[in-house]
Every structure is written in structure tokens, then in C-alpha cells.
């Protein structure tokens, strides 16, 4: 009787405060998750990522076609970093970044590096991941060719990974196809985007998105091998 009364009172407080009250167990679980991941707070995306962007790991966001929604994910990650007051570095291959697409206050935490090609971006990432001031690195490879990033040596990727693990930072690669076997998590992004979405709320658009986690087969060792994207898309 007393327990049910307590529960009811707790539920009432929770409903009034809009989920701001959490139990100790929930708090500890969330904290544990936070220590290993950076949750994006989008359930579908977090589920595909396994709780959030893994710290000390490379994550690939694959948008296999134009207007698949990778840019929206990037904008939401930037907004998240702004809310959590973290610095973000964007390594922009092709220099197609348009600041007007982003809130002014989100740009305050962004350091943009315009790169000519993927090789230059990875070289810059190699330098940048040694800096403890940044907690999130975004590498925009959407406009580069696969041949461009294939020229990056595996050893360089693994060196970057080592540096990221040391500082517990996260890197997200946005690309039209898989980039490297060094990535631990690869998520295929598909956000329905009709022209009317130009007037819709970004968060709502991302919530409507479909995110599917894809994996390398255990036998695949090199990122130079062709990636069976079509097979993944099929099933």
C-alpha cells in the first residue's frame, strides 16, 4: 500500500517535471553509457549506434545517395555539441560547407578546416586528434570519390584511432560509401526528404529517419576490398 503510494507520488512528480526526475539506477546506467558513448538523443540513431557515438572510435555515416540526410545528422551533432558546450572540428573535403544552414550559436563551437581531398583531411585529422580541446571530429567526405580515401594508408587510420582512444574523442565520417575497416560502427542513413522538408523542423526529420547498422565480415581485413553495399541495402 505504502509502496504503491510512493510510486504514484513519484510518477506524479515525474509527469510534472517532464522526465527530469530519474531514479539512481537510471542515472547510473545513463552515466555508464555516457562514459563510453556520446548519445545523440535520437532513439533510432542511438539504437543503431549502440547507445551513441562511441568514444575513441571511428563512426561512419553512409548516405548512399544525394539528400539521404547525412547533412541533417551533422547539423544535429553540431547542435548537440553546442548544447553540451564541446568544441567540434569539421574537416570539409571539397569545401562545400554552407554556414547559413546552421544556427549562428552552433557555429561558435565549430572549427572548420577546408580540405582539397580526403588525403589532406586525414592528414589534418591525424594532427587534430592529438588535441585535447576537441571532443568531436566530423569528416565530410560526401563529395569525394572512393578512390580518394582509398589512398590513405591503414596505418594512418590506426594511428588516429590510438590518439582518439587516448583522449576519448569521437570521429564521424560522412561518406557515400564505406571508408575504412578501422571504423567500429557504420550506420546507413536514410531520411525521407521531400521538397516540403525545407520547411520542417530538423529534429522531427531526423526522428523520421531510418538508420541501419552495418558490419564488416570477420574475414575482411583491409579497407581496400570492395564493400558489398548493395547486399546490405538488400537485406
Amino acid at each position: 500500500m505504502v509502496d504503491s503510494g510512493k510510486k504514484a507520488a513519484l510518477e506524479a512528480i515525474r509527469s510534472q517535471l517532464g522526465g527530469k526526475v530519474v531514479s539512481g539506477t537510471e542515472f547510473l546506467q545513463e552515466r555508464e553509457l555516457h562514459d563510453t558513448c556520446l548519445p545523440t538523443h535520437f532513439p533510432g540513431l542511438d539504437e543503431a549506434l549502440g547507445g551513441g557515438l562511441p568514444r575513441g572510435q571511428l563512426t561512419e555515416m553512409i548516405g548512399s545517395s544525394v539528400s539521404s540526410g547525412s547533412g541533417l545528422i551533422m547539423a544535429e551533432l553540431l547542435a548537440l555539441a553546442r548544447r553540451e558546450r564541446r568544441y567540434v572540428m569539421l574537416l570539409d573535403v571539397g569545401r562545400g560547407f554552407t554556414p547559413w544552414s546552421f544556427p549562428d550559436q552552433d557555429l561558435e563551437v565549430l572549427l572548420w578546416v577546408g580540405c582539397d581531398n580526403a588525403k589532406m583531411a586525414i592528414e589534418a585529422l591525424d594532427v587534430a586528434t592529438r588535441d585535447e580541446n576537441f571532443s568531436l571530429f566530423l569528416v565530410d567526405l560526401r563529395d569525394s570519390e572512393a578512390a580518394d580515401w582509398k589512398s590513405v594508408r591503414s596505418s594512418q587510420w590506426y594511428r588516429i584511432l590510438g590518439q582518439m582512444r587516448q583522449r576519448e574523442t569521437a570521429t564521424v565520417l560522412f561518406a557515400p560509401s564505406p571508408v575504412t575497416a578501422a571504423s567500429k560502427v557504420r550506420v546507413e542513413v536514410a531520411i525521407p526528404m521531400p521538397l516540403a522538408s525545407l520547411n520542417e523542423n530538423r529534429s522531427e526529420l531526423v526522428k523520421r529517419g531510418r538508420f541501419r547498422r552495418t558490419h564488416f565480415s570477420s574475414g575482411q581485413k583491409s579497407d581496400r576490398r570492395a564493400y558489398p553495399l548493395e547486399a546490405l541495402q538488400a537485406g
Binding site: V66, S67, S68, G69, S70, G71, L72, M74, A75, A79, R82, R83, R85, R86, Y87, G94, R95, G96, F97, T98, P99, W100, S101, F102, P103, D104, Q105, L107, E108, V109, L110, L111, W112, V113, G114, C115, D116, M120, E123, A124, V127, A128, R130, D131, E132, N133, R142, D143, M193, P194, L195, S197, L198, N199, E200, N201, R202, S203, E204, L205
Partner: protein, 515 residues
């Protein structure tokens, strides 16, 4: 009348650190302490003694006596000549160790410093003074410390300490007159005429003089008498002139042979930085710039001031700044000497607020920026901001802010409350993001009823299912040669995506895509 806060109402207090016979002590330091030594001036026709140590004084030598006469009185007298280098080194040592006590110091005269003690609680004065005396003693300098309410009283206290052979004497404010009563007028460094006059009056102590009325002194002894009275009564205050610290933290090394490799120079630099940071940290300061000066075997010199983003004492950072710059230098001839100087500055209180956020390590950030600029180009690294214009593709890069403010939650809330149907300035959370193509993508467009129906380009090709537009935009028509004019269409291509089509300069271009 409201009372002043205790920190403001606290009276000032000063200390004078005096190294008597400074020129001699600078030359001798630890050596020749037990034997008679005199410093002579050989520049005039007749060589005279400038100063001598107590052992020589005991043998009858004094300042101003001809050297020949001094040697006749004391055959064992060791003769020394002044050394400007030794005096400079001793001055720096004196100032540097005094900086360990308080930050505001005046170099009153050679071998004499006046310290403002107001930055330290009174209970620590004696301990700090003794610590300074011990450190100077171990460095080979015999000094005395006098403390008083004003610089003048502190100087008198130092004179008393020297005359009495004690190391520290405090002319405390609470019993100043009693203490002055014990002191002869001669310690106040006044003219012999005034001493004689006071003696005739029967005024033999400073306390007796301080007890006289000011008007009486002014009418009988004039300006010098009034000045002494003001000094003794603690009414002669003056601001201290802070000592220059610019060249204080400097190390220099001459190579025996010219050096053509950088490694030996790095080794020396590392050693210099270790020493200089230890010395600098003792003064409560940090380095705000590194000065690197190199001399080459062909007689040329190179000097560079390398500023730091914020004052630091991090040896690794300072070494990386110096060595990093040295690596970029082209060495045309061998290095013959290296000089390193740290520019001192007050440490910045950079503790963030409890929930504050910002750059964790500004030095590392500056290094990263430098390297990123080397990789990508100096005009391609920065925090982007749209320019205040309607013209698309205009943005500028600004330095990343060192502190991250709280996000403007109110603006975000407004959007949520008002239905999320329009864009609030500064909170562009509506619509998808746009990405521009790096290269110009020219398109052929078919129109039907003035609406694009079919598009053909290297990046996008197909039937237009939906089109928003036309959005006409123009600007800078008032500036000859800069006028621009464009028509934009937002297009959805069947099974391809969303694109922006732009008509300008007589052709259609696919500017980019929405993603």
C-alpha cells in the same frame, strides 16, 4: 562616515634590502671573505680605494684613500677592479630573489631595493625576510633588511641594521618614536652641517628631532630639516617605480666551436628552459613570450620574439615554441652562441567557473591551428560566420572563442512554442542543410509554364517532380562591377534528391544539394 574595507584601510609597509659595498660584493661573492680586500678605481691619475671589506677596514683602509697608502697600511691587501658583468649578475640575482617575496619592487639605487609589502600579510614579513637573507647569503651576498611604514623609514631601518651588524630590523609603527629615540641623527643620511647644528641644539637622537614642531623646524632649519621631519614622522610617502624585469630571466651560452646541427642547440634550450621556468615560478610569474637570439659564426645575428597565447610555465610548451621555430630556420652558417629570454608576466587567473567550458589547453590549440594551417592553408582554418549580406556564399572565418557560453535556450524555446513553422534569427533549426558543389555544374533546363520540368547536368539529371521558386535576389548594384543578380529554384528530382538551381550570368547552374 562608512568604514573602509580592511584591505583598503591597511597602511602600507615597505622593506629595504640593502647590499652595502655592492660593487665589491658583486666581485667577491663567496671568495676572499676572511682576507682584506679593496676595490680600487684605476681610471684616474691617482688610484684610490672605492670600498673595502671589514677585514681591510680593521687594518685602517677606508674608501677614498690612495691605493698606495692603503697597501702601506695593509700589505696583505688584495686589490680588485670593478666588473660591470659581475655587478649586473649580482643586481639580477638580488632582484630575482626579492621577487620571491613580493611582486612590486623598486631598484632604488645600485645594491638597494625597496619592496612594497602591502601584498603580503604582516605575520609573514619576518619569515620572508629571513628566507631572502638566507638565500642571498648562500649566493654570496651579505645584505640587510630594514622595514618601516614608508620607503624612507625602511631605509633608515636598513641603515640601523647595517650599523648594528644585525641582518633584520623593523622600525614598527606602533613604537616608532621610542625606537627613533635610540637612533643617532647620523643614520638618517643628512648633511654634516645639519648634524652639527642639531648637536649644538642638544638634539642627538632622531626621536628627539621627530618630537619637535614642524613650524619651528621650518623657520630654523629650512627645507632639509622639514624633509627629515616628514621622513621621521612617516608623512613622506612616494610611489615606488617598479623595476624592469624584461632582461631578468635570460640565459646565454657560447659554444666553443660553431654548431651546424640543431640537436646541441635543442639540448641547451631545454636546459635553459628548465632553469628559467624554475626561477620564474619562484617569483609567482609566468612566461608570456620566448625571445630566441642566435649568433652565427659569420658575425650575423638572428632574434625573434615568440609570443604565447597565454602566460605559462609549462616547460614542454616553452620548449616546443623555441625548438619549433628553430626547426623552421635555415642555418646558412654555424651557430656560435644562443641566448634565451623568457618575458615575464602575471599569471592569468584562468580557472573556469564551476560549470564553465572552453579550451582546455590554449597552447596545444594554437599549435594545432598552426599545423592545420600548414596542411590546409591559412585561409581555410577558422570558425565560420555568415557575412552580413544577402549574397550567398559570403562567409568569413573568425578565431574560435576560448570560452563557450551557455546556449541561448530562450530562443530555442520560442521556436518550440510558436509551432516550428518559421525560422527565428540565429536559431536555424528549420529545413535541411545545403551543401555547395566545389565546381561549377552547368545545367540545361527545360521549362513548362515558366517552371523547370527537366534538368540535365553532370551531377543531376531527370524529371523535376516538385519545384519551389523562383526566388529572385540581387545586390550591390550601387557598386560598379560588383552587382549581382540571381534567380533560385529549389527542385526535387525524381529518385535523385533535392537540388538548388541558380540562374545567373545568362546560364543555369546546379549550385548544390540539400542533405
Amino acid at each position: 562616515m562608512p568604514r573602509l574595507p580592511s584591505s583598503l584601510s591597511r597602511p602600507n609597509h615597505y622593506a629595504v634590502v640593502w647590499c652595502a659595498d655592492f660593487r665589491l660584493q658583486a666581485v667577491l661573492r663567496r671568495s676572499n671573505r676572511g682576507i682584506p680586500v679593496a676595490l680600487i678605481d684605476d681610471s684616474k691619475r691617482q688610484s684610490v680605494v672605492l670600498c673595502c671589506n671589514p677585514v681591510a677596514e680593521h687594518a685602517g683602509v677606508f674608501a677614498g684613500i690612495p691605493t698606495v697608502q692603503a697597501l702601506a697600511r695593509c700589505p696583505d691587501l688584495t686589490i680588485k677592479e670593478p666588473s660591470a658583468a659581475a655587478e649586473t649578475a649580482a643586481e639580477r640575482l638580488l632582484l630575482e630573489l626579492a621577487l620571491n617575496w613580493v611582486p612590486l619592487i623598486e631598484e632604488t639605487e645600485q645594491g638597494m631595493l625597496t619592496l612594497d609589502l602591502s601584498s603580503q600579510p604582516e605575520m609573514h614579513w619576518n619569515d620572508s625576510a629571513r628566507s631572502l637573507l638566507n638565500r642571498l647569503d648562500s649566493a654570496g651576498l651579505d645584505v640587510v633588511v630594514g622595514m618601516g611604514e614608508t620607503p624612507s623609514l625602511a631605509r633608515i631601518a636598513a641603515q640601523v641594521a647595517q650599523e648594528r651588524g644585525i641582518r633584520l630590523w623593523h622600525l614598527a609603527a606602533k613604537n616608532r618614536l621610542e625606537l627613533l629615540n635610540e637612533l643617532p641623527v647620523s643614520v638618517a643620511e643628512i648633511s654634516a652641517g645639519l648634524v652639527e647644528k642639531l648637536h649644538l641644539w642638544g638634539v642627538d637622537t632622531l626621536g628627539a628631532f621627530a618630537g619637535l614642531r614642524r613650524e619651528t623646524i621650518a623657520s630654523r632649519l629650512g627645507e632639509e630639516g622639514v624633509e627629515l621631519w616628514l621622513r621621521l614622522t612617516g608623512r613622506l610617502q612616494r610611489p615606488l617605480k617598479p623595476a624592469s624585469l624584461e632582461q631578468l630571466f635570460e640565459e646565454h651560452y657560447d659554444f666553443e666551436y660553431e654548431v651546424r646541427e640543431r640537436e646541441p642547440v635543442f639540448f641547451i634550450l631545454h636546459r635553459f628552459i628548465e632553469r628559467l621556468t624554475a626561477r620564474l615560478s619562484g617569483t609567482g610569474r609566468a612566461a608570456t613570450a620566448v625571445h630566441l637570439l642566435l649568433s652565427f659564426s659569420d658575425g650575423s645575428c638572428y632574434g625573434k620574439r615568440l609570443p604565447l597565447p597565454e602566460p605559462t610555465l609549462d616547460e614542454d610548451v616553452l620548449f616546443r615554441v623555441g625548438s619549433g621555430h628553430l626547426e623552421t630556420l635555415e642555418l646558412k652558417s654555424g651557430i656560435s652562441s644562443v641566448r634565451l629570454r623568457l618575458e615575464p608576466s602575471d599569471l592569468i587567473a584562468s580557472q573556469q567557473t564551476l560549470f564553465g567550458a572552453g579550451l582546455k589547453n590554449r597552447h596545444h590549440y594554437e599549435e594545432t591551428l598552426k599545423r592545420l594551417r600548414q596542411i590546409a592553408g591559412s585561409d581555410r582554418v577558422g570558425s565560420p560566420r555568415p557575412k552580413d549580406t544577402h549574397r550567398p556564399d559570403q562567409f568569413e572565418l573568425v578565431p574560435l572563442s576560448a570560452e563557450i557560453d551557455e546556449p541561448d535556450q530562450q530562443a530555442a524555446l520560442m521556436v518550440e512554442e510558436e509551432g516550428l513553422r518559421y525560422e527565428v534569427p540565429g536559431v536555424k533549426q528549420i529545413g535541411v542543410t545545403f551543401r555547395r558543389y566545389a565546381r561549377r555544374v552547368v545545367a540545361e533546363v527545360e521549362f513548362e509554364d515558366d517552371v523547370p520540368r527537366c534538368l540535365d547536368s553532370s551531377r543531376a539529371k531527370g524529371t523535376v517532380t516538385t519545384a519551389y521558386g523562383p526566388w529572385r535576389n540581387e545586390g550591390e548594384w550601387w557598386d560598379r562591377g560588383k552587382a549581382w543578380n540571381r534567380v533560385e529554384w529549389d527542385l526535387e528530382l525524381k529518385q535523385q534528391g533535392l537540388f538548388r538551381l541558380v540562374g545567373k550570368e545568362g546560364e543555369w547552374v546546379v549550385e548544390g544539394y540539400y542533405d
